[in-house]
Amino acid sequence: MAEMNQKLFSGLAVAASLLGLAGCSDSDANTGSSAADRTSAVKNYAENLASAYADSVADETDHQTVVGKFLADPTEKNLAAARTSWLDARAHYMLTEGARFYDGPIDVDTAERPSREGLINSWPLDENYIDYTTDAKGVVDETVGIVNDPTLLKDITASGLDDLNAVQSDTSISSGYHAVEFLLWGQALKPTGPGERPASDYDLTGTRANPDRRAQYLTVAVDGIITHLTEVRDAWAKDAEYRVSFEGDANTALSNVFTGLAKFSKGELGSQRIGAAYMSKERHDQHDCFSSDTLVDYERDARGIQNMYLGKYGDNDGMGLNDLVAAVDPAEDTKLQGMIQDSIDAIVAIPRPFEASIAGADDSPGRVAIAKALDALSRQGDEFAVAAAALGYKITVDDPPAAQ
């Protein structure tokens, strides 16, 4: 992958002048901040990301324990604990999402294996690909989905769910956080608020069909998240092949890092996660439609972007991209830091829950606040390209990524 990215970005230098894609300076990649500082910033970024993935694995492992307790004793109290633990288990993963869109370990896919991101965090998903649903007339169809239809998957295993993920369409999602979210909360049938799946769906003596397959599904879906998060964590571990190659070419790495932050800001978090919902007014077009926790995700995503720019994670505050940019153009650094804070503030200002805010007239407080966040993220994405250009990296931003 490193080789591929090198080719791409050496092509970029030629391309920018031909296409006029970026209003960049002509400085080369080694002016301004020192090569040592750049390498230091890349290493710090990698170390922080490795820590965030390690924390994500630990979070999900804790979640696994709580889910195990719930399935052993499927009471409402234990279901509530499993839901709380799902919400908690996302805290660190959201902070990693700015590291997308450069075919790193989270995104890279092969003929044999789809991207880990696709297996871990795909959305939106069709409920009736997984389990029973209730239609608009209140009729429950207990024959549909992988839980109820063994012809889709005879034995429910983690690899079996991976194989079915996104097979019929981009939204026929069988694995990952949001599949688990649906299994814990169920369909959100009211206009706002979370789903209200009863704990008795998992009770072997209950009235709902296939509680055993549902429990098996929940168990292995959580296992699958741990497996794939662990693979990503290990790819970023010190001395791992990807990490060594990433740190070995600071200029390619920094181009990638800026590309990821720009595309995640503008294309993914902005356009796909917030913009598409703004346009459609559909609660399904929000990240956490079953738990109604969407705005928490979006705020964490935005804070993760800020962390990556500042070189911070947890207690660590090392050499950041801000230090590199400030060394060549202090005003640009100040401007970008301001924009990043603005986008966080704009997301925090959106009235909760998100599904209530996306409905209504364009001049309603909710939609005005969402439009403001969208605008802030879009401008922030473009500004990452300006900051990258100040360091001599020519990146393109107007490439909204595929939604996953």
Binding site: M4, K7, L8, G11, L12, V14, A15, L18, L19, L21, F101, Y102, D103, D107, V108, D109, T110, A111, S115, P124, D126, N128, Y129, T133, T134, D135, A136, K137, D141, T143, V144, Q168, S169, D170, T171, S172, Q187, A188, L189, S271, Q272, G275, A276, Y278, M279, S280, E282, H284, D285, D375, S378, T396, D398, D399, P400, P401, A402, A403
Partner: protein
């Protein structure tokens, strides 16, 4: 000397050294990064087909995102709580646009285990419909819908078997082509009418459509000509414009049977997913399909695809950028480009077209770009023929397929199946399947030295 003039110079030298075939080669322009003009993206990752053209204002950027979202999402059975996305079927080929156009690219026709994936089967019987198009089967219509929602059976089940046919290159190197045979069994609504014709078609990548739509008709028709020394001709298709109720030049689809992306989109929603729209408000159940007719419709009272969703997907289709050409300074790829012309490939896979005005976006207007198609129909010979006429296209004519982005199919979609039914396993096999008007060009390739064949493939892989 600038880089560009040096490149042109080296190409001139090369062209003087090669000269295969009887075809008078078209002039090769200097290698151009910008396959889509200003609508080019530099992304060569697995998202290479999914980028928007640049320079969209906030409103159009929002339109693009919304279109992407609708394109990607599965439609569900009505009535669902997601009222905007319900109304699947009742009989259907796919649940989402992205089923057949995965990541805006090409899905494989079948899964490794032989399950239908990104492929549909057009149906018709002899004669013509009132609008000049194919005459639909009275029960099954103009397309096989193998799937149905709960309690509604699909039309029937398609199958494919392949037989390997060996061949040799001019230098004695062996190759093998797989010849498909298609059958449909399990007809759930009785036998189809006599003389049923079946045309299998995979979903192509959907990049650069806004550029192709903005090419003035005069420029397309300027390439229409009587057979040349190699027997290459090229004729337009004239098809039904369902929006304006007139006959119009066909540009899109394997047989150029659609005049606009907008109509293609509404047609695919109706035929492939069973989603009605203001353009095609009638469902696809025919009078004898009682279970199909009694299933609940979704969405709005009148039709399922709201006009704003239709418009957004239509815009999305037009605003997907074209990946830049790569390996611009690779001598083999550049030599391959010259051979592409020398062999006669460029007679139909026309390198350069131009747009005029574009109603969709400023970036699409007045562009010089490189789709490697003339958007015209050519007789491709009996081996590729589907035997099913489509408006003015005969059973052996196909529209020249654009080649831009062809080198990234494996990166994006992880397979290399090419041609209308995905029978070719890679570019070389696709070339070897060419017949009819393309027979001379194919023979020029087949008889060429391995190094020349490799150079041609290197060039095509750089697109």
């Amino acid at each position: 000397m600038t880089d560009r003039s040096r490149l042109a110079f080296s190409l001139l030298v090369l062209s003087a050294c090669s000269g295969a075939g009887t075809h008078k080669p078209a002039a090769v322009v200097p290698a151009d990064l910008k396959s889509g003009g200003l609508a080019t993206t530099l992304d060569a990752t697995s998202d290479a087909y999914s980028n928007s053209i640049s320079g969209l204002d906030d409103v159009l950027a929002g339109e693009f995102s919304y279109g992407h979202s609708v394109f990607s999402q599965s439609w569900v059975i009505a009535p669902a709580t997601t009222s905007g996305m319900d109304g699947l079927g009742p009989i259907f080929n796919a649940r989402a646009c992205s089923t057949c156009h995965s990541k805006d690219g090409r899905s494989a026709p079948f899964t490794a285990t032989g399950t239908l994936l990104g492929m549909l089967f057009r149906l018709s019987i002899p004669g013509k419909a009132a609008n000049g198009g194919p005459n639909p089967d009275p029960v099954y219509g103009d397309q096989l819908r193998p799937f149905g929602i709960l309690s509604v059976p699909g039309d029937g089940t398609p199958h494919v078997t392949y037989v390997e046919t060996p061949g040799t290159y001019g230098d004695g190197t062996a190759f093998s082509l797989q010849t498909p045979t298609y059958t449909i069994d399990g007809w759930n609504y009785g036998d189809p009418a006599d003389g049923l014709m079946i045309s299998p078609r995979t979903g192509p990548s959907v990049i650069g459509l806004g550029l192709l739509e903005a090419v003035p008709e005069d420029e397309i028709l300027a390439n229409v000509h009587p057979p040349d020394a190699d027997g290459v001709a090229g004729v337009p298709n004239h098809v039904w414009d369902a929006v304006n109720h007139v006959t119009a030049l066909g540009r899109f689809g394997w047989k150029a049977n659609q005049p606009t992306t907008s109509q293609q989109v509404a047609g695919a929603f109706s035929g492939d997913i069973g989603i009605t729209s203001s353009l095609f408000p009638k469902g696809t159940c025919t009078p004898t399909m009682t279970a199909c007719l009694s299933a609940a419709p979704g969405g709005d009272p009148d039709f399922e695809l709201t006009d704003d969703r239709w418009q957004s997907v239509g815009f999305y289709m037009k605003a997907l950028a074209v990946p830049a050409r790569r390996d611009l300074s690779d001598p083999d790829a550049l030599r391959g480009e010259q051979l592409f012309s020398n062999f006669g490939c460029a007679s139909c896979h026309v390198t350069t077209l131009h747009t005029g005005a574009s109603a969709a976006a400023d970036v699409l207007a007045n562009q010089t770009f490189h789709p490697y198609t003339d958007l015209l129909l050519h007789d491709m010979g009996p081996d590729l023929a589907d035997g099913r006429p489509d408006f003015e296209a005969s059973g052996s004519q196909w529209r020249t397929t654009p080649l831009w982005g062809i080198g990234l199919i494996e990166t994006v979609n992880h397979h290399s199946f090419l041609l209308h039914d995905g029978r070719a396993r890679g570019i070389a096999e696709a070339v070897l399947w060419h017949g009819g008007e393309a027979a001379t060009a194919r023979e020029n390739f087949r008889m060429a030295a391995q190094s020349d064949r490799d150079a041609l493939l290197k060039f095509l892989s750089s697109l």
